[in-house]
Symmetry: C2
Subunit: 456 residues, 2 copies
């Protein structure tokens, strides 16, 4: 009888608690959709500040703006965390054309990859060798590659449902293509943009020369998908087609920048930290609305939504706006280093860096026990059409915080449109939908609430 | 032992069958994403033909074009089904302004609602009474309303997650507002556009006068959400603000049009019909890409995808492109009438009329036994992130086919952006994403395949 009674009491408590969790989520979602701040913050970040390349004036303006906005929220602490970041500048707009063996030319759309060196002054013209990837190039060997421009033309696979997976299948040619081609004596590298759509916009992104001697470093650029198709066709028709490109980008000395951090200090376990963040820097071609303005403003709104909903966290909840995710990850490394020095116990880190589209759920880096806990929360998210709770990659900025005992997660929005915009001039505020952005912020705030309340 | 053996055999067969179903879905999705036709069909329908108001020349061009494309697919039968449809024409572009009591004016963006009469020649100017809905207007009574323009300003509720529900909560003022206001002696009706966003585009849509005598019929128009806010603010500041509008729309005699139908005849049960469809007509302000060009081309591609995947249906599968969903439903009524006359047994009807966005699942009108069957198919759809299988409303065009013994369903795409475009000049091809459209077509084809194979 006693056991039945305590079971009964347990069930009543569990039910009341589930009830109040459901109500709390409803409050959070309603707040976000009727009174959210994320969209107006993004409007300012995108339209008044714009692209925020690490070390640029606009990156510094974004630091100042977001700090000021966090200051206005009445958090317990807001501060800047200094970090040295690389400063790469694009220079003049790049210029490129194809030249047939008869001498006729046709311009194409390119952009320098982030971290690339410039072409020789006045540009570079050479014969082109098209390959589908680094292995194919290596198999062709030095003789075939030397003195040429290597054209990496492997396309993202459209039949892969989750587009980030298709991206992962092609990103090596952009990141390491120039390094590997340089070793074989190539003079330049052109990479098909990582875009599932056929259009005229080149997509930039980071690349590396590794430890390659300066003499072997060659310039590399991305070409739009339409122009990749054009170049490939031209090479089929006329294998002596030459490629010309001119770019004046260069790497300057590192400069000081900042992570922006805000905190609501926990009432019961102030040294247990839950962080939520995105990255403040972006590429320079668009205004960085999806990558990662969206993650920045959603993360800021998580703390505001919890405050507005009247919730008093037991643990310390921080928003961290990381600097330099795109071409260095210096902000994330600095944040993790300082956290370690101070002995801060980061139990959970949540990143939003997959665009501001309709949220579908989260990927978690965690143990099975935590996944069982998540399973129990699924029904709370069902009214909001959040259904994806899987083990998977969380994100670059929270990765340095991961230990064997904590949990990290990444928000997973619908990914179908993301690579239409990623790192291109089309990453613009007008392509972010207010409701989709707000639903993402509410979904993040809901998960943070549950983890603060029940722990990991 | 015998029972165990037969259970074992059953389990093996079930497993093999699940395996092959998973493979079949993979084939369908891959076909759609790598070799789909839906997007190029939509390109033509939207950019070469454009808005397709019932009875218009472009509606007839859409009939001819889709028939021709279906003819080219090698189906067993393709035909046109004649149907008389209403013909309403917008006339000149509408014009409207607010006039303060001091006489200063400010133009606003409006469009006539479909089916509305014109204003008197030269336009109509009157004092305005703002209400949140029909009941509030009725409560104010004849004295308050008579001689005025009634301004229905109830906004869609942003906190409702499924936007069609928010739409349903406001559509009555657009559909019946003028009829009810006419009874109380109002001279015109202005309705806040059914749009969750604040922007400058008025959204049209159908309205009715019911059996109201012609003398009581008054013109009605939609106003953009930004201008609804402006009008409301002006009325607060200056309750003598007047509204002027001029529109020259009119209802002409009915004209003949057509449903477009294509069929793969079933190999085992040719008189059991499975249909999949969308509506070929659209409003005239945009090009009707989301409403319902998307549903049209997805439905066409369902039959092509099944053919290309090498599947031979047991039952007869039809694509039906319905004419006149927007302002009459005549095509759907005609199709159901002819089906009944011929004694065709329609076991399952699937409609796509909620935009060409990322598919999330289906709503079903069915019994519990069918929902149990659907439950068993859920895992097949999981790799494609399709998770929503609920009882709910299927769609207007398949509604006349519903009986106690059959099943109807509606594709449910992500709904967050839909009302940014619905019935407005912003319903344009550029707002449809190729992959999202193709995922929808594959999701529909997969369900049709399973239902053909296993029945309802």
């Amino acid at each position: 009888m006693k056991r039945i009674l305590s079971l009964l009491i347990f069930l009543i408590i569990a039910n009341v608690s589930a009830q109040s969790d459901a109500e709390m989520l409803k409050t959070i979602y309603t707040q976000s959709l009727t009174n959210g701040k994320s969209y107006s913050w993004l409007d300012y970040l995108s339209n008044q500040i714009g692209g925020r390349l690490s070390g640029s004036l606009s990156a510094e303006r974004a630091v100042a703006y977001t700090k000021e906005e966090l200051d206005s929220l009445g958090l317990d602490k807001v501060w800047l965390q200094p970090v040295m970041v690389p400063k790469w500048v694009r220079g003049n707009k790049e210029y490129a054309f194809l030249e047939s063996s008869s001498g006729s030319t046709s311009t194409v759309n390119i952009c320098a990859l982030g971290g690339s060196i410039a072409t020789p002054i006045g540009g570079l013209k050479a014969a082109v060798i098209e390959v589908q990837g680094i292995e194919e190039m290596k198999a062709l060997g030095k003789e075939a590659v030397s003195g040429k421009i290597v054209f990496f033309n492997r396309a993202m696979q459209p039949e892969i449902i989750q587009t980030f997976e298709a991206y992962g299948g092609c990103a090596d040619q952009r990141y390491s293509g120039a390094m590997e081609a340089g070793k074989l004596g190539a003079v330049g590298v052109i990479v098909r943009s990582l875009n599932l759509r056929l259009d005229d916009f080149p997509h930039t992104g980071s690349m590396t020369y590794g430890n390659l001697p300066i003499s072997q470093r060659i310039p590399s650029a991305a070409i739009s998908t339409n122009d990749a198709e054009k170049l490939s066709t031209m090479l089929t028709l006329d294998k002596n087609t030459k490629f010309f490109f001119n770019q004046t980008c260069r790497q300057l000395d590192d400069v000081e920048s900042h992570n922006v951090i805000g905190e609501i200090t926990g009432s019961e376990f102030p040294n247990e930290y839950i962080i939520v963040g995105g990255h403040l820097d972006s590429w320079d071609l668009g205004d960085g609305s999806h990558d990662d303005g969206a993650g920045v403003v959603q993360s800021m709104d998580v703390l505001r939504l919890l405050k507005e909903s009247g919730y008093k966290p037991k643990r310390s909840i921080r928003v961290v706006l990381f600097m330099n995710e795109e071409n260095g990850l210096r902000g994330a490394l600095k944040y993790a280093e300082v956290a370690k020095q101070k002995g801060e116990n980061h139990i959970f880190s949540l990143e939003s860096d997959s665009g501001g589209f309709t949220p579908r759920g989260f990927d978690f880096e965690c143990d099975d026990a935590f996944m069982t806990k998540i399973e129990g929360w699924k029904n709370l998210f069902k009214p909001y059409l959040i259904h994806h709770f899987e083990k998977g990659y969380s994100g670059a900025d929270v990765a340095p915080l991961k230990t064997a005992n904590n949990v990290s997660a990444g928000l997973r929005p619908d990914s179908q449109r993301y690579f239409d915009h990623h790192h291109a001039a089309t990453d613009l505020f007008e392509h972010v939908n207010k409701r989709e952005l707000e639903l993402g912020a509410a979904t993040m705030a809901s998960l943070v609430y549950l983890i603060d309340k029940y722990g990991i």
